[in-house]
Symmetry: C2
Subunit: 125 residues, 2 copies
DNA sequence: CATAGTGTACTAACTCAATAGTACACTATC
DNA sequence: GATAGTGTACTATTGAGTTAGTACACTATG
């Protein structure tokens, strides 16, 4: 389930950021409890707590003792998180592919191909 | 220099794979000694050795005791490594961006923009 | 008030990555 | 033969991440 070469708590943070940025988790919405999320992800509660705490220190969620953890209502914050993650993904791809010796046209073509195959798998257009 | 959230030896492996796949390091060519590479990367020799050993177990390099470590001369091997790395990069981008809620057109546009800005930085066309 | 669900704190143990330092075996070259 | 450069092996230490288990404080609800 998780990439074994990067800390799990960081991967959990990314998953939640994706849920927030994509709208799958709404602004002000309640996150699963630390214990429930741990069961869902097959992981130790402490690891989830670590992720939640880091997310709070980044201002993406906030907690109310005894009640739970909630998604921030600061839309600007969410926008900036989305930009950061997208930036990182694009940079990783561009730098990595360039390092491998691919040309820009090839890179774009490979991505289009990937999408094409992905839609076949799902039965899309 | 290195991403602090993934093992350094894995990142060194990727750097060398890129050098091999891009042709910056030629087939059969000699890699820097463990000690020299450690100095170049500002890292402990043991860490470089770890990377070299893993690369050898993957068949990307081979060693001759007392002489050094050399790039494989198996071109098919190099081709498959290039494919694996490219696959991984494209999948990471596509899955990550999709998870963030981006549409395919947006993704391709963002990459083109990134390249455009990159060429501005280098003064390219 | 009692209870259940929540975040939070703490200790302990284990593994892996990385560093430091030393030493040995092999090869090529002078 | 001596030397320098190479891979290799080994021990020891440090730190981070993860798990396990327990316990406490707060909130809402009955």
């Amino acid at each position: 389930m998780f990439d074994e070469n990067t800390p799990i708590y960081l991967q959990i943070m990314d998953l939640i950021k994706q849920d927030v940025c994509s709208g799958r988790m709404s602004m002000g919405g309640k996150l699963p409890s630390v214990r429930d999320k741990a069961i869902e992800l097959q992981v130790n509660p402490n690891t989830v707590q670590h992720a939640y705490q880091e997310l709070e220190s980044e201002g993406i969620v906030f907690t109310q003792r005894g009640m739970g953890t909630f998604v921030t209502e600061d839309e600007g914050k969410i926008d900036s998180v989305r930009s950061e993650l997208a930036e990182r993904l694009v940079r990783q791809l561009a730098d990595g592919m360039t390092g491998l010796g691919f040309q820009r046209r090839q890179i774009l073509r490979l991505i289009e191909e990937y999408f094409k195959n992905a839609s076949d798998d799902v039965g899309g257009r």
